[in-house]
């Protein structure tokens, strides 16, 4: 193998750390030095300090449940290390770069290797900071010898490496399948948002069905997950290198879970790593062949308008109606918008249900249940509506802005049409989660409607706030730009404080007037007022000539 992969790794690393361009090496050396000190000295102190503060002694608990805890921790770590790089790299398809590399006679396996190596420094750093948080507890509970600790960290890091490799493989494969077309990019972004759901849902399913499946199969179904192999190996290392003498009863308990001998787990893990490397290399030729990268390149022809759009046109026959209808079409045809909205709606349904379950006996008072779940649904929907309609969904590019601005009062018209479009699409978005939550929680129809109405009012306010902020500081569709991060952060902060503050205000008013309905209606007003203000400022800024 020649040295082409080194150049690719270097470029990959430079791109991912371009934010600290100046002192890249210094920053990285510093971060690694800190991470090592953190792992060896600080993390154990911090974690044990936390337990001490809350007056909890974790040791008996951990000693009793080591293998189970280990499996859970590794599963979380595995999914995170797998998903985060995948989701990040899907935000931008890089097939253009591949073409350059391929044309310079670099072999495809070198490309794969280079991309992988370039990703290591940053994700390793993340693992180095995260892992000690969990492991220091285990290390101290079993007072594991230094050699044992070293072995454990070695195993984890090899496992993390293999996972980064798989993640890299997946992201290359998906990008190649989608292709570097506008449509492919849109689908990739949509995927990067829902990727967590795609992976987590089967894992949840596995947990749910683990019992019955294990009985049918006669062996532990979790043994199919590579994270389990690593977890069980770690448990073995802990048991073999502990300086405590564990009671035989405990060992019997462990042997129920740790069904294979340690060497078997080592073999499984090595086989996993080798298989993914060999598999990746042998697939690389096919993955990078650009013929296969035209998957999403098909031509889509639009058909006639549906009844809703026709109705809207009839209601608003002038040019404003046309603008609004076109905005609705444009927004709803983007897969990434749809996946963001769906993601938010699902979270809005799940959140109150989880909270309800995790309170012993639910929220207690029914009125509490209504207020709290409304609060959660509306906060979730407000956030997602704000960030989707007002964030990436607002403007595609700078040149598009020039076109809009060159119409008379173009920016104002555009802003109004976009806002109306968002308000209209928000209607089903407010109804659906509220309906599901009311059903699950046995709310009356009136209460369910109230929840919808309140969420809707808040959503409209949040959309105006986020749209206004984006208009003040346009980030276009670049989700990696600093303007995008700033806008998202500012919008989220404002929306969260506002929803919370509004709730308190609403409770005051509601208590004074002794009316729960007035409470929830009052609570939406500040968002609308502030939203109107910020949106107005944004439109004003957009319509002023640049200086």
């Amino acid at each position: 193998m020649s040295h082409g992969w080194r150049a690719i790794a270097k470029a990959e690393f430079r791109v991912s750390t371009s934010r600290f361009r100046r002192g890249r090496l210094v920053a990285f050396a510093g971060a690694y030095a800190f991470a090592i000190v953190w792992a060896l000295l600080l993390a154990p102190e911090v974690v044990s300090g936390l337990f001490w503060m809350f007056e909890v002694d974790p040791n008996p608990l951990i000693q009793a449940g080591l293998p189970g805890i280990m499996r859970t921790l590794l599963l979380v770590l595995w999914v995170m290390i797998l998903l985060y790089p995948l989701s990040y790299s899907l935000q931008e398809i890089k097939i253009g770069q591949w073409e350059i590399m391929l044309s310079s006679n670099v072999r495809t396996r070198e490309m794969l290797l280079g991309m992988f190596v370039g990703k290591i420094p940053i994700y390793f750093l993340i693992a180095l900071i995260m892992a000690p948080l969990f492991f220091s507890v285990i290390v101290s509970a079993f007072s594991i010898t230094l050699l044992g600790q070293a072995l454990m960290y070695l195993a984890v890091f090899l496992f993390v490496l293999a996972t980064i490799w798989v993640s890299n493989l997946l992201s290359v494969g998906i990008q190649a399948k989608l292709g570097d077309s506008p449509r492919g990019n849109d689908l990739a972004k949509a995927l990067s948002i829902v990727v967590a759901l795609i992976f987590l849902v089967p894992v949840y399913g596995l947990m749910y069905f683990a019992g019955p499946l294990t009985e049918i199969l006669g062996w532990d179904i979790f043994l199919v997950l590579p994270s389990t192999w690593c977890a069980d190996l770690l448990s073995w290392i802990a048991l073999l290198s502990t300086s405590l003498t564990l009671p035989p009863a405990l060992m019997d308990l462990y042997s129920l879970i740790l069904v294979l001998p340690p060497i078997a787990y080592v073999i499984l893990l090595v086989a996993f790593a080798v298989a993914t490397v060999v598999g990746g290399f042998s697939l690389s030729e096919r993955m990078f062949s650009l013929e296969s990268t035209r998957g999403a390149d098909k031509v889509i022809t639009v058909k006639g308008e549906n009844a809703v759009l026709r109705g809207l046109r009839r209601l608003m026959p002038g040019s404003f109606g046309t603008l609004t209808v076109t905005s609705i079409k444009e927004f709803s045809r983007k897969a990434q918008n749809i996946s963001r909205v769906a993601y938010g709606a699902i979270l809005a349904i799940i959140l109150p249900v989880i909270f309800n379950l995790s309170f012993v006996g639910g929220f207690g008072e029914p009125i509490f249940m209504l207020v709290l779940s409304t609060f959660m649904v509306s906060m979730m929907l407000g956030l997602i509506a704000g960030l989707t309609f007002g964030g990436v969904g607002f403007l595609e590019s700078k040149d598009q802005l020039w076109i809009i601005q060159s119409g008379p009062s173009g920016a104002w018209k555009y802003m109004k049409a976009r806002l109306l479009q968002s308000f209209l699409i928000s209607i089903p978005l407010a109804l659906f989660p509220a309906a599901v939550v009311s059903l699950i929680m046995d709310l009356t129809i009136l209460d369910g409607l109230l929840m919808s109405l309140h969420s809707y009012v808040l959503m409209c306010g949040c959309v105006m706030i986020a749209t206004g902020i984006t208009a003040l500081n346009p980030a276009y569709e670049d989700t990696k730009s600093s303007a995008f991060y700033v806008n998202t952060l500012v919008s989220m902060l404002i929306i969260m404080f506002l929803v919370l503050g509004s709730l308190i205000l609403g409770i005051r008013v509601g208590a004074a007037l002794e009316n729960i309905y007035l409470l929830l209606l009052t609570a939406g007003m500040p968002a609308i007022l502030l939203g109107g203000l910020i949106a107005g400022l944004g439109a004003h800024r957009l319509s002023a000539p640049e200086s």
Partner: protein, 257 residues
């Protein structure tokens, strides 16, 4: 072009970006009905001038009137009767050509039957009818450019700014663009202000040419006069003489040593 009304007049119009003097004090008059070619190398300040004239960019100093309206005070009046084709425009990838033109038309307050008729005529003229309902994301860059040209003409503007209209087009498509401009210039009173770095395009289409070098207008006049003044055979030679594009072979190949 008969010494008539002035469509664009600038008085010491200039623009700085920090230390960069993108456009140095510019005094320019373009008469109504002219097809004006604004010629200059990359980075000369053509786009910057167009953005100032169309009210999208605030000048650092000087003033200008466009179609009789002041660019500082009456931007919306100017925008209503001019059209702009930006340099590297982003289309809405998820709209069809028809829908995109409908959108732009609505931005200029057009709607209903009138708008539909114009869209159909333009699509027909630019030979896009067959694919008018396909999403723009699947269009080639030349086809996208045609859609954009249609969008700048949709409200029948009096003055059209075209920034590098043929830079991404194949020869057949750019010939078509030339034809459209010539036809509109002859049959209507439309004024065209065309930025380009392509001398043959400018020579074929424009009645008057201004050559901009590093933010400074160094030549102004009909192409024939410029060619005569510089004792050249064609506009390309004249342009290279003016811009200083003499090619030194030694230097060109020095990197190989």
């Amino acid at each position: 072009m008969s010494g008539g009304q002035s469509e664009i007049t600038t008085r010491a119009l200039r623009k700085n970006f920090g230390d960069i003097k993108a456009v140095k004090p510019l005094d320019l008059r373009v008469e109504r009905g002219t097809t004006f070619g604004y010629l200059g190398p990359n980075g000369a300040g053509k786009t910057t001038t167009v953005r100032m004239l169309s009210g999208l960019l605030r000048p650092t100093g000087g003033s200008a009137t466009v179609c009789g309206f002041d660019i500082a005070e009456q931007r919306n009046r100017i925008k209503a009767i001019t059209g702009l084709l930006p340099e590297a425009p982003g289309l809405y990838s998820k709209l069809s050509a028809y829908e995109f033109l409908e959108f732009i038309g609505a931005l200029y307050d057009l709607s209903g039957e009138k708008l539909n008729r114009r869209i159909n005529r333009l699509l027909n003229l630019l030979d896009l009818t067959e694919r008018q309902n396909d999403l723009l994301e699947s269009y080639s860059s030349g086809m996208k450019q045609k859609v954009l040209i249609a969008s700048t003409l949709i409200h029948e503007p009096r003055l059209v700014f075209l920034d590098e209209p043929t830079a991404r087009l194949d020869p057949a498509a750019s010939a078509l663009v030339k034809e459209i401009i010539n036809a509109l210039a002859e049959e209507t009173d439309t004024t065209f202000f065309i930025c380009t770095h392509l001398t043959d395009f400018a020579e074929d289409v424009c009645d008057v040419i201004g050559i901009l070098v590093e933010g400074e207008l160094v030549e102004l006049g009909p192409p024939k006069e410029i060619i005569e003044r510089t004792e050249s055979d064609d506009l390309e030679e004249a342009y290279l003489k003016i811009v200083g594009g003499k090619i030194d072979r030694k230097r060109l190949l020095s990197w190989r040593e």
